[in-house]
C-alpha cells in the first residue's frame, strides 16, 4: 500500500497501462507538455513520447471522434476532456458513435475507448465549468459509466476501463484530485465494474453516495453515529452502469430506509433512477419513501456562498436521514429543492 493522491493514482494507472500495452495512447488538450490541466498526465509525455501521448487542439468532438476511430482500428485510446461540461461538445461522437457502433455493426466493430473528465463544483468556476452530469451518460445504453471517489478506486477502475472492450465514460472529480488515500502497489490491481463498495456498515439507514458524495455521506454517517446514535450504511456504487443494485437492495432490506446523495440536479438524476429501482424491487421493505439529497435545481452560481448552498454537504445529509427516520423536524433535504 502507498499513500497517494487521487491524481497520482490516476497517473499511476495510466503509466502502468501505457507500459503494459503498446496499443494504449493518450490524447487531449494540454495533456502532454503541460502535463494536464489537473496534472493527471504529468511526466507521461517524457516517459512514453509524442506518439503515445498527444496534445490536441481545442476540438472536443474531434478529440473523441479520433478516439472512436482509433479504438475501432485496434488501439486502446484514453482521451481526456478538460471538464465534463465540454463533453457536451462531443456528445455526437459519444452518443451517436462510441455508444452505438458496436450495435449498429452487429458486433463486428468495437470501441474500447476511455473518455476521462472531471466534474464538480467548489472552485467558483460558474455554470459552464462546475456541473455534475453523470446522469446524462448513465442515460445512454452502450456506455459504461465509472464515478470513482477514492484514490484506490480511481486507479483500479481506470485500469479496468482501459482493458474493457466497451466505451467507458470515466468521471473524475475536481475536488478529489488532491485527496490522499491508500492504494495497492500491485500493478495488476483492478476494480471490477458493477461492484459497489460498502464504505461503512450500519443497520438504520442506507446512504448511497455518488462520486464525491460517497465521501460526504461517510462524514455524515460519522456525525449520525456520534451525535444521534444512528448507524448508517454507506454504499459507493463506484460504477453507475453496470450498477451493483444487489448490494444496495440487500442493504435497504436490512435498514428499511434509504437516502441517496448526489451532486447533480434532482430531475432525471441518478438518485431519481435509483429510487425508482428500489421502489420497484424493495417496495415491501421500505418504511419510508426513498429520500434524495441532490444539488440545487439551478445553474451553478459563481458566488462562493451561493455555490456552497447549491451542492450537498454533510449537515444536509444528516438532516435528511433524521427526517427519513422521523427523528427530527428541522431539515433541508435538498440543497435547493426538487
Amino acid at each position: 500500500m502507498t499513500q497517494m493522491r487521487y491524481r497520482e493514482a490516476l497517473n499511476a494507472a495510466l503509466r502502468e497501462e501505457l507500459a503494459r500495452d503498446e496499443r494504449v495512447v493518450l490524447m487531449g488538450e494540454d495533456i502532454g507538455v503541460f502535463g494536464g490541466a489537473f496534472k493527471v498526465t504529468d511526466g507521461l509525455l517524457e516517459e512514453f513520447g509524442e506518439r503515445r501521448v498527444r496534445d490536441t487542439p481545442i476540438s472536443e468532438n474531434t478529440i473523441v471522434g479520433v478516439g472512436v476511430g482509433a479504438a475501432m482500428t485496434g488501439l486502446r485510446p484514453v482521451v481526456e476532456l478538460m471538464t465534463i461540461n465540454f463533453a457536451l461538445l462531443a456528445f455526437d461522437q459519444i452518443v451517436n458513435h462510441a455508444a452505438h457502433i458496436h450495435y449498429m455493426f452487429g458486433g463486428q466493430a468495437r470501441v474500447p475507448l476511455v473518455v476521462r473528465m472531471p466534474q464538480g463544483a467548489g472552485h467558483q468556476l460558474g455554470p459552464t465549468h462546475s456541473h455534475c452530469l453523470e446522469a446524462l451518460f448513465l442515460h445512454v445504453p452502450g456506455l459504461l459509466v465509472a464515478v470513482p471517489a477514492t484514490a484506490a478506486d480511481a486507479k483500479g477502475l481506470l485500469k479496468s476501463a482501459i482493458r474493457d472492450e466497451n466505451p467507458v465514460i470515466f468521471i473524475e472529480h475536481e475536488s478529489l484530485y488532491g485527496v490522499r488515500g491508500e492504494v495497492p502497489d500491485d500493478d495488476e490491481y483492478l476494480v471490477g465494474f458493477g461492484q459497489a463498495r460498502v464504505a461503512r456498515e450500519g443497520s438504520d439507514v442506507t446512504l448511497v453516495g455518488i462520486s464525491r458524495m460517497a465521501l460526504t455521506a461517510e462524514r455524515a454517517a460519522e456525525t449520525l453515529a456520534a451525535e444521534h446514535g444512528v448507524q448508517a450504511e454507506v454504499i459507493d456504487p463506484r460504477t453507475l452502469r453496470p450498477l451493483d443494485l444487489d448490494t444496495i437492495l440487500a442493504s435497504v432490506r436490512k435498514t428499511n430506509h434509504c437516502v441517496i446523495v448526489e451532486e447533480g440536479w434532482p430531475h432525471g438524476g441518478v438518485g431519481a433512477n435509483l429510487a425508482a429501482l428500489i421502489g420497484e424491487q424493495a417496495f415491501d421493505h421500505l418504511d419510508a419513501p426513498v429520500q434524495r439529497v441532490t444539488g440545487a435545481d439551478v445553474p451553478m452560481p459563481y458566488s462562493k456562498p451561493l455555490e456552497d448552498l447549491a451542492y450537498p454537504h454533510a449537515p444536509q445529509i444528516v438532516a435528511a436521514v433524521l427526517a427519513t427516520l422521523n427523528r427530527s423536524s428541522t431539515s433541508a433535504a435538498t440543497a435547493g429543492g426538487a
Binding site: 415491501d284 421500505l286 418504511d287 419510508a288 423536524s329 431539515s331 435538498t334 429543492g337 426538487a338
Partner: protein
C-alpha cells in the same frame, strides 16, 4: 369514541347473534381483549376488541344484528371526550410534538399530506402506512385501523406496528392473540339455550314445544331448501365390490400400532378414491354460480359429520394429494373437533365436493342433498356381505352402494357415470389409493 360493529366472521355470515358480553357495560377494555361471544351461521366465536377504552354496550345479549351494525362503542368517558381519542401514548405525543416547518421540500411534502390518522379515521378511508408496516401488519394479522401513526403526516411505520406487541402488558402480541381467538373454543352447532327460547302450547297434537333453531340450524335449513328448490338433480347408484378394500384394511390394521396409528376406515378410502376421481373429472369438482361453471384447482372434500342437533361438514383440503393415512388422521381429528365444538370456520369452508356416510347405521343407500354451489354429493351406505352373481355363481361378497347426486346444470349423466365408475374402479383395486 370508536364504534364496534357486528363483525363478518365467515364468508357467508350475514347476521350474528350476541350470545353474551364478556365485559360489563362501562368496564375498561384493552385492544385484543376478549369482548363478546357471537354466534354466526357456522359457529360460535369469541371476538376481541380492536379498540381500547371504556365499553358502552349498544346491543344486548340475545340480539341478532346484521353485519356492520353497531353493537358497542369503546372510548373515553363523556367527561374526557374533549381531549380526543384515548389511544394516546408516546407515539401520538411524538406525532403531535412535530411542528411542521415548511422550510424544505421534505417538510412541504409532509405538510401537504398532513391528515389525521389512526382511531378516528373513518371506516373505508385509506390508511396511510409504509409498505413495510403494511407487510408486517398483514403477516401478523394486525389491523392497521387500530394503530396511531407516528410518521410524517400520521403515517403508520414499522415501529407503530411493532409497538403494541411490546407495550401492552395485558394482551399478548396482537398477532398471537388473534391466532388464539381463531383457535379458541367455537362451538359449532351449539344447542339452543334450553328454556330460554322454548315455548309450549297444548293442541290436538298434545303439548307442542316450539324450539328456536340455532343459527347453524337456520343455515342448514336455508341452504337445504335452496338446494332442493333450485338444483335440477339426478342420482346414480353403483354397487362396489369391497373385497380388496376389506383385505387392505385388515392388513393395515395388523401393521398399525394400535391407538396412535389408526387404520383408515372404508369412508377414508371412499374419500381418497373420490378425490382422485375428482382430479380426473374437473366438472364434478366444480361449482355452479350465477349461471356459470367454476372450475377449481384444488380438490377439497367435505366430510359430513353429525354433531348435536346439527350437521357439520369439515373439509379435507387437497385430499387428492394426501395419502390415505393422512386423510384418516385428518378426518378423525376433524370429527373429534366437531363433536367437541372446537371446529373453526376456516375448517368448515372451501369444500369443492362432499362425501356423506350413514353406513354405520346400517343404511344400505340414501341420497344426500347437494351442498350448493357444489356439483354433486356422494352418499355412502353400509358395507355388508351380499349375494352377488360372479362368473355364473352366486357368491357372498362384501359390497357397498354409492349414490351420486348431481346438479344437471353443470354435471351431466355420462360424465357423472364415468366419474362414479372411476371411484368404483379405484375402490375395487385399492392399491391405487396408496399411491
Amino acid at each position: 369514541m370508536g364504534e364496534i360493529v357486528m363483525p363478518r366472521l365467515s364468508d357467508t355470515m350475514e347476521e350474528g347473534t350476541i350470545l353474551r358480553w364478556l365485559k360489563a357495560d362501562g368496564e375498561q377494555v384493552a385492544r385484543g381483549e376478549e369482548l363478546i361471544e357471537i354466534e354466526t351461521d357456522k359457529a360460535t366465536m369469541i371476538y376481541e376488541s380492536d379498540q381500547a377504552g371504556a365499553l358502552q354496550i349498544v346491543a344486548d345479549a340475545g340480539a341478532t344484528l346484521a353485519v356492520g351494525e353497531v353493537i358497542a362503542r369503546v372510548g373515553v368517558t363523556a367527561g374526557d371526550s374533549d381531549e380526543g381519542p384515548a389511544s394516546g401514548g408516546p407515539a401520538s405525543e411524538r406525532a403531535r410534538a412535530q411542528t411542521p416547518v415548511a422550510s424544505s421540500t421534505l417538510e412541504r411534502v409532509a405538510a401537504s399530506q398532513e391528515q389525521p390518522n389512526g382511531a378516528d379515521a373513518a371506516a373505508g378511508e385509506r390508511i396511510k402506512a409504509s409498505p413495510l408496516a403494511r407487510r408486517i401488519a398483514g403477516e401478523s394479522g394486525i389491523d392497521l385501523r387500530g394503530l396511531t401513526g407516528s410518521g410524517p403526516g400520521g403515517r403508520i411505520v414499522k415501529a407503530d406496528v411493532l409497538a403494541p406487541a411490546a407495550d401492552s402488558p395485558s394482551a399478548a402480541a396482537p398477532g398471537a392473540a388473534r391466532a388464539e381467538a381463531a383457535a379458541a373454543p367455537a362451538r359449532a352447532g351449539a344447542a339452543p339455550q334450553p328454556g330460554t327460547d322454548a315455548q309450549s302450547a297444548t293442541t290436538a297434537k298434545g303439548e307442542t314445544t316450539t324450539v328456536e333453531l340455532s343459527r347453524t340450524q337456520q343455515t342448514i335449513a336455508r341452504r337445504m331448501a335452496e338446494s332442493k328448490a333450485t338444483i335440477p338433480e339426478f342420482t346414480l347408484l353403483i354397487d362396489v365390490d369391497m373385497e380388496e378394500c376389506v383385505r387392505l384394511r385388515v392388513e393395515l390394521k395388523q401393521i398399525s400400532r394400535s391407538d396412535t396409528d389408526k387404520a383408515p376406515t372404508y369412508n377414508d378410502m371412499v374419500v381418497k378414491a373420490a378425490a382422485l376421481a375428482l382430479r380426473e373429472h374437473p366438472t364434478a369438482n366444480g361449482s355452479y354460480r350465477d349461471g356459470r361453471l367454476q372450475l377449481h384447482s384444488r380438490v377439497n372434500v367435505g366430510v359430513a359429520v353429525a354433531a348435536e342437533n346439527a350437521l357439520v361438514v369439515p373439509t379435507v383440503f387437497d385430499a387428492d394429494e394426501k395419502s390415505l393415512g393422512e386423510i384418516a388422521r385428518e378426518t378423525h381429528t376433524l370429527a373429534d373437533r366437531v363433536r367437541a365444538g372446537t371446529i373453526t370456520p376456516p375448517e368448515l369452508g372451501g369444500g369443492t365436493f362432499t362425501v356423506s356416510n350413514l353406513g354405520m347405521y346400517g343404511v344400505r343407500s340414501f341420497t344426500a342433498i347437494i351442498n350448493p354451489p357444489q356439483a354433486g354429493i356422494l352418499s355412502v351406505g353400509a358395507l355388508s356381505p351380499r349375494a352377488v352373481v360372479r362368473e355364473g355363481q352366486v357368491a357372498a361378497r362384501n359390497t357397498l352402494t354409492l349414490t351420486l347426486a348431481c346438479d344437471h346444470r353443470i354435471l351431466y349423466g355420462a360424465e357423472a357415470a364415468e366419474f362414479l365408475a372411476r371411484i368404483r374402479e379405484l375402490l375395487e383395486r385399492p392399491s391405487a389409493l396408496t399411491l
